[in-house]
C-alpha cells in the first residue's frame, strides 16, 4: 500500500506525493538536479549534505542500485524527491546486470526518506523562480500548518558550517605510495570529498592521504605533501574559516588544486567574495568555456555558492566561465602554483571530459618540485 507524503516549502507551497525509502521525515534546503542518470552518485555525494534533492528526470531508479556507484560510504542527502520511482517486481531479482537491489530498497535500508509521484517540474519551476529554499518532506506529519511552521524554522544555508560535519574524523591514507616507484604525495583536505576525486588522483599513481577539514596548515605541511587538493563539500564556504586560514598559509608553499567548495575556499583565501546563487547549478550538462583554449567543456556541477569574479584580487585571474549564466567557473593564481574550478572534473555522475585537470595538477606539482 502506498503511504501519502508531503513536501512543504518554507514559503508555504506544498506538493503531494507518496512516501518512499525510509518513509519518515527529512528537512533541508530543497534543490533540483537535471541529471538524467547517476542518481545514486548524487545521493551519496557529500556536497548534498543537508539538502533534499529533487530529480527533474521523469523516471528514476530504472537501473537499480549497486555499491559500485557510491561516492561515500553512506547516503549524504537529507531526503530525495522523485517523479516516478521504479521499484521492480517483488518476485524477481532486480533486472539490471549491475544492480543488487532497487533504489527504493536501498534508501529504505539506509534510512533516507523520500517522496515520489510528485510534480517535480512544478517544483523545479517554483525553485527556479523563487530560489532554492528550505523544506520538509514527511510521511509522518501530514498537517500542513505544522509542516510549514517547522519548515520556516529551518536555518538558512548561508552561515552554516557543514563541511566539518561530513569530513573524516581522523587522517587516513586512501592509496599508499606504490612500492616500486617514488610517487607524488597528495594531501586532500576533506571537506566532504567524493570518492571519485580520490580515485582520479590514485589512478595517476599518487599517494593520497586524506585529512580532516579542520587540520592546520602546519600539520599538513609537516606530512611533506607534494601537493594539496581542496575538494568539494557541502554548503556555504564562508563559515569554513579554519580551512580558509589553512589555505592562506598553504598558498605558495605547496601546489593547490581546488574543486567546487575547494575552489570557493581558495577564492576566499585569496580575498575574493562568495555569494549564493538563486537556485545553484546541479546537473551534468553545464557548458564551461576554458579561456586558455577557447574550448567548451560539458561539466558536472553541484554548487549553490559561487566566487564573485569582480572581487578577485590582481594576483588571481579567471580561467573558466559558465556559458549559461556567465558565472565564474575557475581561476588561476598568478604568483603561486594554485588553480581551481567550480565544476567537477572527476564527474561521476556526468561527462568525464574535464578529467585532464588532474593531469594539470600533476604537471603543476612536477614543475614545482
Amino acid at each position: 500500500m502506498t503511504k501519502p507524503a508531503l513536501l512543504m516549502l518554507d514559503d508555504g507551497v506544498c506538493f503531494e506525493g507518496e512516501a518512499r525509502g525510509a518513509a519518515g521525515e527529512a528537512a533541508g534546503e530543497v534543490v533540483f538536479t537535471t541529471s538524467m542518470a547517476g542518481y545514486q552518485e548524487t545521493l551519496t555525494d557529500p556536497s548534498y549534505f543537508g539538502q533534499i534533492v529533487a530529480f527533474t528526470a521523469a523516471q528514476l531508479g530504472n537501473y537499480g542500485a549497486t555499491p559500485l556507484d557510491d561516492e561515500s560510504p553512506a547516503p549524504r542527502v537529507a531526503g530525495a524527491v522523485f517523479h516516478d520511482l521504479f521499484t521492480a517486481a517483488e518476485n524477481m531479482p532486480f533486472p539490471h546486470w549491475r544492480a543488487g537491489e532497487s533504489l527504493d530498497a536501498k534508501l529504505a535500508r539506509q534510512g533516507i526518506s523520500a517522496i515520489a509521484g510528485l510534480d517535480t517540474r512544478a517544483l523545479t519551476l517554483h525553485l527556479r523562480e523563487h530560489g532554492s529554499r528550505g523544506g520538509i518532506l514527511s510521511a509522518l506529519d501530514l498537517d500542513r500548518p505544522s509542516l510549514l511552521r517547522r519548515a520556516r524554522a529551518l536555518p538558512p544555508m548561508q552561515g552554516q558550517d557543514l563541511a566539518r560535519k561530513v569530513s573524516c574524523a581522523q587522517p587516513y591514507a586512501f592509496s599508499p605510495p606504490p612500492p616500486d616507484s617514488p610517487s607524488l604525495r597528495v594531501a586532500v583536505l576533506d571537506c566532504g570529498v567524493k570518492r571519485s576525486i580520490l580515485v582520479n588522483l590514485a589512478r595517476l599513481g599518487m599517494a593520497v592521504s586524506v585529512w580532516p577539514a579542520a587540520t592546520s596548515a602546519a600539520d599538513i605541511l609537516a606530512s611533506k605533501p607534494d601537493g594539496v587538493l581542496l575538494p568539494n563539500g557541502p554548503g556555504d564556504p564562508e563559515p569554513c574559516v579554519y580551512a580558509i586560514a589553512a589555505i592562506r598559509r598553504l598558498l605558495g608553499r605547496v601546489p593547490l588544486f581546488g574543486i567546487c567548495l575547494g575552489h570557493q575556499l581558495l577564492g576566499l583565501a585569496l580575498g575574493a567574495r562568495t555569494y549564493k546563487l538563486p537556485f545553484g547549478h546541479h546537473g551534468v550538462n553545464h557548458p564551461v568555456l576554458d579561456i586558455s583554449t577557447r574550448r567548451v567543456l560539458i561539466t558536472s556541477q553541484n554548487h549553490g555558492f559561487c566566487v564573485d569574479p569582480d572581487s578577485l584580487p590582481a594576483r588571481a585571474a579567471p580561467s573558466h566561465w559558465n556559458l549559461n549564466d556567465d558565472t565564474l567557473e575557475g581561476l588561476v593564481v598568478k604568483d603561486a602554483p594554485a588553480f581551481s574550478v567550480q565544476f567537477h572534473p572527476e564527474a561521476v555522475p556526468g561527462p568525464t571530459e574535464a578529467g585532464d585537470l588532474f593531469l594539470r595538477f600533476r604537471d603543476l606539482i612536477l614543475q614545482a618540485k
Binding site: 537501473y63 517486481a89 560539458i298 549564466d325 561527462p351
Partner: protein, 1136 residues
C-alpha cells in the same frame, strides 16, 4: 571569429524523392538549414527533385533547382552558379553520395567548391565499412567480429570464423537495403547474394550477430574548434535485430546507469573525432550486451539523419539549424539556444519521456512477409511526449492511426478460418509464444496481451530480448487496465447512467481517473474497457470525456524547453500530460500573450487564432504533400497576423518544427487530444477556428466529431467533404449538375456485385467506400476475378452489407486528368489541369502527370474547367478542390471530386509558382478570391512533369503491379522548356534514367500498333536498336521498320524475361489491354523494376521520351531554377 566571410554562395543538396529509409525528415533538416543560411546572408542554391517538400518553396533559397539529383545536373548547376561551398550533410544518403560523386569526378576541385559540414575524407571513413572498422580499432573501440566479402564464396569463408546467426550488410546502401540475418548456410547464400546486388560496389560485410543486445543511439554535434556535445541519447525498446527505423525508440535512455552512459558518450565523441566530422550533426549507434555490459559500435552517419530529426523534436534542440551555422564557421559557444536564450553548446536535459513508434504498410504489398529485420520497412512514424514512458507509449500508439486507442491486444477476427480464436488462456499463451518468437510489426501488442494473460516478465524478456524495465512498464499498464475494469466500473457505475453534473474534483472517482489518465489511457480505451464490465450501459468516448471533465480531470500542457525547467523557455512548443498536478506557467503565458489582433477585411474581422491539424504519421497515400499544405497554411496565416497553431504527431516533418507555427502542440491527431488543445486554447467561434482540410485523411476522419463537440471548422464544411466521398450523394450531385460519369453501382454481397458488374460491363473498377490512397481498389476484367476479390482473397475485401463496395465502369484507354482549384464559396479559380501519362486505372498518386496538358484539345479543356467550377460550387467548397476526370473517346467523365487538399497541391504550386495552399488558407480565414488577387488560371510557358517512386524493392515477394491502389512513397518533378525534356528529367530523377541509345523492346497492344509506327521510326533514328514481340514486330516490318524478334513470355525460351535478365533490354515499351496481357505486363514490370530498366506503359510516355531525346540531341543540357521559370526568363522550347 564567428562566421567565415569567404562562403557567400552555398549549394545545398536535398534528398530527392521520399523513399523508405529517407523520408521527410530531410525536408525538415533541409528547410531548417536553408533558413539558417539565408538568415546569415548566404546566397543559397538548392538542388532537390522533390516537389512535395517545403524546402523547395522558392522562398527558402535564392536559386531553387528542381532537377534530377545526379552528377550531370549538379555539375551543370555548379558551372552556372559557381558556389563557394557545397553542404551535403542535410540531404541524407542521397546528398552524401552525390557529393562524393562530384568530389571523385574532380568537379568540386575544378570549380573550387569546398565541401562543408563533412569533408570527403570523413565521409569515406564513415561510409566505407572496412576503413571505418580499422579506424575504430585504431582508437581502441570494440566491434562485432566481421569480415568483408565481394562474393558468395568469400562470404562463406568469413562466416566460418564468425558463426551463425550472422548478419549481412551491403556497403553503401540506404536504410539497410539488401541486408539480412542468416541462421544457416543455405539462407546465408541467399542473403549474401541479395546484399551483393544491392551494394553499388558489390561488397557485403558479414558480421557477428548482436541480436538481442540493447541498441542505443547518440546524436552528436561538433564544431570547428572540436567542441562536441551529445544532444540526445535514444534507446531502442526493440533490441538489436530490428532496424532502428522500425523499432520503438525512447528518449531519454532509460535503462543505462551513468557509468554505462558516460562510457558510450566518450566512445561517441572519440568516433566523431576519429572520423573527422568537421562540423555538424552525426549519429552513432551502439550495441550493449544486456548481461555483461560489453559494448560494440555498429555504425555512424556523418550527417543529420532520421534520428537527429527525432532527437530535435524530442529535446527541442534544432540540430540541423545549428549544423548549418557551424558549417559556415560558427562555433557552438557563439550560438544561442533559441528556446532558452542560453548557450547552444550544452546537452539538453529532459523531464518527460518521448516514444517513437513506426508505422508500417505491409498490407499494401500482397505477398511480402510482415517480418522486421535489418532492412527498414516502416513508411512513417509517430512520436509522443508524456509524463512517463507508459503515457508516452499509449499516446504514440493512438497517434499511429491504425485503429488503436492505446496499448491493446491485437483484435483477432473471430471468423477467420486460419486463426481460430483460442478457447483457453493457456492455449492463447502458447500461440503468443510462437508469435513473439518472431518480430512482426505488431509485436508490442502481442507482448501486451501475453502480459495481460499473465506471462512472466522473465519469459517475455527471454522471448523478445526486450529489457525487463520496459516490460515492467507494460505490466503496470496491464495492471491499470485490470483495475480499470473492476474499480472504475464500481466508481463510475453510478455517475455514468445520468449526466454526471459538475461535481467533485476531489472525490475518489476524480483521483482514480487522474491515475488512469496518467498511465496514458485514452477516453476511447477507457470506454471500451468499461463497456466490458458494464455491458448494459452505452459507454462512449464522449461520455467518458464528459465524466472526466465534470470531475475536473484535464491534461496539463507543458513546454518542451531543452533544459528540464532550469531556464525560462521562450519557444512555444508543448505537449500534454495527465501525470502532473500543476499547469506549466509558460504555456499559460503563451496563450495569454497579447498579440496585435489581425486587422479586418472590408469590415469583416479576421480570426484571431487558427488551429491547423496535421496528418500524423506518414503512410503510403498520405505523406509529405499534406505536411507541405499544413506548413503553407501556417505561414500564410502568420503573414496575416493570425495566430497559427499546429497540432501534429509526426517528428519527421516541417510542421512540427517549433517555429513553423506560432504555437506547436506535439500531440496525437485524435478527437480527445485535439479537443484538449482547443479547450486549452479557448478556441470558439469568436476566437477563430480549426482547419481540417490540409492534413490528408487524418483530420478529416475526426472532423465531424470535432464539429459535433462544438469546434468551429473553417472552410468547406465537414459534411460537404464527407458528401463528396459518399458515392451515392456525390453521384446525385454530379447528375444534378449534368456532368457525365462512368456508369456505376453499389453492391453489398457477391451476387449483387456480379450483377452490377454485368450490367455496367467489364472491365470494372471496384473499391470499398471511404478510403484514401485507393486501399483495396482494383480493376477487374472478368467475373471470376470479381468473385475472388469480394470473397477477400487476393488482397480484396470481405464484403458486408454495412460497408458496400463501389463498382464503376473502367474506361480503358482513357486519358486521366487531375484538376486543382481554389474556391471561396462563390467563385472558383483553376490552379492547374494535369494530364496523366500513365495508363488509366493507376492511382493518381502513382501516376506520372504533366502541367500543362499536352494532348487535350481546347474544347475538352474548357469542358473540364467548366465542370470543375460547377463541382466547386456544388460542393460548397471553401478552400481547395481536387477533381479527377477521365477523357474517353471525346467524352469528359468525372471520376471523383474532393473539396480538400490533394496530393498534387505541392506539385501544382511548384509548377505554377502560385502558393495555392497558402491562398486556400486565406480563403478559409475569410478572404474572397478577388481579395487574394487569384482570379486567373496561371498560364506557364514551360512544362512540369511529376513522376512517382515506388518501394517494391523493399518488399521481396510482393506482387509488383500498379493499379488503383496507391503504392508510391514519393515523387519527383522534371521541369524544362519542352514537354519531352521535362519528362526525361522526371524519369531520370526517379533513379531510372532513359538511356540515349541501346536496345528498345517494343510490345504493344493491337490498338496501339498503328500509332507506334512513327514513334518506332523516330526511336530508330535516335540510334536505338529495336526489338519487338511477334505481333508488334509484324506491324513494324510490314511498314519497313526493322526490328529483331523477342519471344513472348511463355514456354519457348529464351523469351522476353530472359532477354531482360541478360541485360539486353535498355528501354521497355509495353502497353496492354484486357486481362491476359495485363498479367504479362505485371511480370514485365516486376522484372524492369528489379533490374532498373525504364519501362513505358503508354504511347504518350513513349512520345514524350522520343521528343525529349530529340531535343537532347541538338540542345545542350539546360538547368534553370524555379525563380527563372517563374520570371519568364526560360524561353519556351523548340518543340512547342
Amino acid at each position: 571569429m564567428p562566421k567565415r566571410d569567404d562562403l557567400r554562395t552555398i549549394l545545398v543538396l536535398g534528398s530527392g524523392p521520399i523513399i523508405i529509409g529517407q523520408a521527410c525528415e530531410f525536408d525538415y533538416s533541409g528547410t531548417q538549414g536553408c533558413k539558417a543560411l539565408k538568415e546569415e546572408g548566404c546566397r543559397v542554391i538548392l538542388l532537390n527533385s522533390n516537389p512535395a517538400t517545403v524546402m523547395t518553396d522558392p522562398g527558402f533559397s535564392d536559386r531553387t533547382y528542381m532537377e534530377p539529383m545526379n552528377i550531370h545536373m549538379a555539375g551543370s548547376i555548379i558551372m552556372q552558379e559557381r558556389p563557394d561551398a557545397l553542404l551535403p550533410t542535410l540531404g541524407g544518403q542521397t546528398a552524401l553520395n552525390l557529393a562524393m560523386e562530384l568530389h571523385k569526378a574532380g568537379i568540386l576541385e575544378a570549380y573550387t567548391v569546398e565541401m562543408i559540414g563533412a569533408k570527403p575524407a570523413a565521409i569515406e571513413i564513415a561510409e566505407n565499412r572496412q576503413v571505418f572498422r580499422q579506424t575504430m580499432r585504431d582508437i581502441g573501440l570494440d566491434l562485432p567480429k566481421s569480415g568483408f566479402a565481394g562474393s558468395v564464396a568469400e562470404a562463406l569463408g568469413q562466416v566460418e570464423a564468425i558463426g551463425f546467426p550472422a548478419i549481412v550488410r551491403p556497403s553503401y546502401t540506404l536504410g539497410g537495403t539488401g541486408g539480412g540475418v542468416a541462421y544457416n548456410r543455405e539462407s546465408f547464400r541467399e542473403v549474401v547474394r541479395r546484399g551483393l546486388d544491392a551494394s553499388p560496389i558489390g561488397q557485403v560485410l558479414v558480421e557477428e550477430s548482436v541480436l538481442g543486445w540493447k541498441e542505443i543511439e547518440l546524436e552528436v554535434i561538433r564544431d570547428g574548434r572540436d567542441n562536441a556535445v551529445v544532444i540526445c541519447g535514444i534507446e531502442n525498446l526493440d533490441p538489436m535485430g530490428v532496424h532502428t527505423g522500425d523499432s520503438i525508440t525512447v528518449a531519454p535512455i532509460q535503462t543505462l546507469s551513468d557509468v554505462e552512459y558516460q562510457a558510450l558518450r566518450n566512445d561517441a565523441l572519440a568516433v566523431v573525432r576519429a572520423v573527422g566530422v568537421d562540423t555538424g550533426g552525426c549519429n552513432i549507434q551502439f550495441a550493449l550486451h544486456p548481461r555483461t555490459g560489453r559494448r560494440v559500435i555498429i555504425e555512424m552517419n556523418p550527417r543529420v539523419s532520421r534520428s537527429s530529426a527525432l532527437a530535435s523534436k524530442a529535446t527541442g534542440f534544432p540540430i540541423a539549424r545549428v549544423a548549418a551555422k557551424l558549417a559556415i564557421g560558427y562555433h557552438l559557444d557563439e550560438l544561442k539556444n533559441d528556446i532558452t536564450g542560453t548557450s547552444a553548446c550544452f546537452e539538453p536535459a529532459i523531464d518527460y519521456c518521448v516514444v517513437k513508434v513506426p508505422r508500417f504498410n505491409f498490407e499494401k504489398f500482397t505477398g511480402a512477409e510482415p517480418l522486421l529485420g535489418l532492412q527498414m520497412h516502416s513508411v512513417g512514424e509517430t512520436m509522443a511526449l508524456g509524463g512517463n514512458f507508459r503515457e508516452a507509449l499509449q499516446k504514440a500508439l493512438r497517434g499511429l492511426e491504425i485503429g488503436l486507442s492505446g496499448l491493446e491486444p491485437v483484435s483477432r477476427p473471430a471468423a477467420d478460418g486460419a486463426a481460430p480464436a483460442s478457447s483457453s488462456r493457456t492455449e492463447r499463451l502458447e500461440d503468443l509464444r510462437g508469435i513473439l518468437h518472431q518480430t512482426g510489426p505488431e509485436r508490442i501488442l502481442y507482448l501486451y496481451e501475453a502480459l495481460l494473460l499473465g506471462m512472466s516478465v522473465e519469459e517475455a524478456s527471454a522471448l523478445t530480448g526486450i529489457d525487463p524495465w520496459f516490460l515492467l512498464q507494460l505490466r503496470l499498464i496491464a495492471e491499470t487496465e485490470k483495475s480499470l475494469e473492476i474499480d472504475l466500473a464500481a466508481l463510475a457505475g453510478d455517475a455514468l447512467p445520468d449526466d454526471p453534473g459538475p461535481s467533485g474534483a476531489d472525490g475518489p472517482l476524480a483521483a482514480f481517473l487522474r491515475r488512469v489518465k496518467a498511465q496514458g489511457f485514452s477516453d476511447a480505451r477507457i470506454a471500451a474497457l468499461l463497456s466490458r464490465s458494464l455491458p448494459d450501459a452505452l459507454i462512449t468516448e464522449d461520455r467518458i470525456r464528459a465524466l472526466r471533465l465534470s470531475r475536473g480531470v484535464r491534461p496539463v500542457f507543458r513546454c518542451v524547453d531543452t533544459c528540464a525547467g532550469e531556464f525560462a523557455a521562450l519557444t512555444p512548443y508543448f505537449y500534454s500530460t495527465f501525470d502532473a498536478a500543476h499547469p506549466d506557467p509558460a504555456h499559460a503565458a503563451h496563450v495569454a500573450a497579447a498579440r496585435v489582433p489581425p486587422g479586418d477585411l472590408a469590415g469583416r474581422p479576421l480570426p484571431r487564432k487558427v488551429i491547423i491539424l496535421g496528418g500524423g504519421p506518414n503512410r503510403i497515400g498520405q505523406g509529405v504533400e499534406f505536411d507541405y499544405c499544413c506548413v503553407q497554411a501556417a505561414f500564410s496565416l502568420r503573414d496575416l497576423g493570425v495566430t497559427a497553431i499546429m497540432v501534429n504527431s509526426n517528428p519527421e516533418t516541417v510542421s512540427t518544427d517549433y517555429d513553423t507555427a506560432d504555437r506547436l502542440y506535439f500531440e496525437p491527431v485524435t478527437v480527445e487530444d485535439v479537443l484538449a488543445v482547443c479547450e486549452a486554447e479557448g478556441l470558439d467561434r469568436s476566437a477563430g477556428g480549426l482547419i481540417v482540410q490540409f492534413g490528408g485523411q487524418t483530420p478529416l476522419n475526426i472532423a465531424r466529431a470535432l464539429e459535433a463537440a462544438g469546434v468551429p471548422i473553417l472552410g468547406t464544411r465537414p459534411g460537404d467533404i464527407a458528401m463528396a466521398e459518399d458515392r451515392e450523394s456525390f453521384s446525385a450531385l454530379v447528375e444534378r449538375l449534368s456532368i457525365a460519369q462512368p456508369r456505376s453501382g453499389m453492391a453489398g454481397n457477391e451476387e449483387s456485385a456480379c450483377r452490377v458488374a454485368k450490367e455496367i460491363g467489364y472491365p470494372v473498377m471496384v473499391r470499398p467506400s471511404f478510403v484514401l490512397g485507393g486501399r483495396a481498389m482494383r480493376v477487374i476484367h472478368r467475373e471470376a476475378d470479381l468473385r475472388a476479390y469480394v470473397s477477400g482473397r487476393e488482397g480484396g475485401i470481405a464484403l458486408d452489407p454495412a460497408s458496400p463496395i463501389l463498382v464503376d465502369k473502367f474506361l480503358e484507354d482513357a486519358v486521366e486528368v487531375d484538376v486543382d482549384a481554389v474556391c471561396d464559396g462563390s467563385a472558383v479559380t483553376i490552379a492547374a489541369v494535369m494530364e496523366h501519362i500513365e495508363q488509366a486505372g493507376i492511382h493518381s498518386g502513382d501516376s506520372c502527370c504533366s502541367i500543362p496538358t499536352h494532348t487535350l484539345d481546347p474544347g475538352i479543356l474548357e469542358r473540364i474547367r467548366g465542370h470543375t467550377r460547377q463541382l466547386g460550387l456544388g460542393l460548397r467548397t471553401v478552400g481547395l478542390l481536387n477533381v479527377q476526370f477521365a477523357v474517353h473517346r471525346g467524352g469528359v467523365y468525372v471520376l471523383e471530386a474532393n473539396p480538400r487538399a490533394s496530393r498534387t497541391v505541392p506539385f501544382v504550386s511548384k509548377a505554377t509558382g502560385r502558393n495555392i495552399a497558402g491562398l486556400a488558407a486565406r480563403i478559409m480565414a475569410g478572404f474572397t478570391l478577388a481579395e487574394t488577387g487569384f482570379l486567373e488560371e496561371p498560364s506557364i510557358g514551360y512544362h512540369a512533369v511529376k513522376e512517382a517512386v515506388i518501394p517494391f524493392s523493399r518488399f521481396p515477394g510482393a506482387e509488383i503491379s500498379l493499379g488503383p491502389e496507391m503504392r508510391s512513397t514519393g515523387e519527383v518533378m522534371g521541369i524544362d522548356r519542352s514537354f519531352g525534356m521535362a519528362f526525361l528529367k522526371a524519369q531520370s530523377a526517379t533513379g531510372t534514367p532513359i538511356p540515349f541509345s541501346g536496345n528498345a523492346i517494343l510490345t504493344v497492344t493491337d490498338s496501339d500498333k498503328e500509332a507506334l509506327l512513327p514513334l518506332a521510326a523516330r526511336l530508330r533514328d535516335l540510334g536505338f536498336f529495336l526489338y519487338a514481340t511477334p505481333g508488334t514486330r509484324d506491324t513494324l516490318i510490314a511498314r519497313g521498320i526493322q526490328a529483331e524478334l523477342v519471344v513472348k513470355i511463355g514456354p519457348r525460351r529464351p523469351h522476353l524475361l530472359d532477354f531482360m535478365r541478360n541485360g539486353h533490354a535498355h528501354l521497355m515499351v509495353n502497353t496492354v489491354s484486357g486481362s491476359t496481357s495485363a498479367r504479362d505486363a505485371t511480370v514485365i514490370r516486376a522484372e524492369a523494376l528489379a533490374r532498373n530498366i525504364p519501362l513505358l506503359t503508354t504511347l504518350a510516355a513513349l512520345r514524350a521520351v522520343v521528343e525529349g531525346l530529340e531535343v537532347r540531341k541538338v540542345d545542350r543540357r539546360s538547368v534553370a531554377p524555379l525563380q527563372d521559370y517563374y520570371a519568364g526568363l526560360v524561353k519556351p522550347g523548340r518543340n512547342d
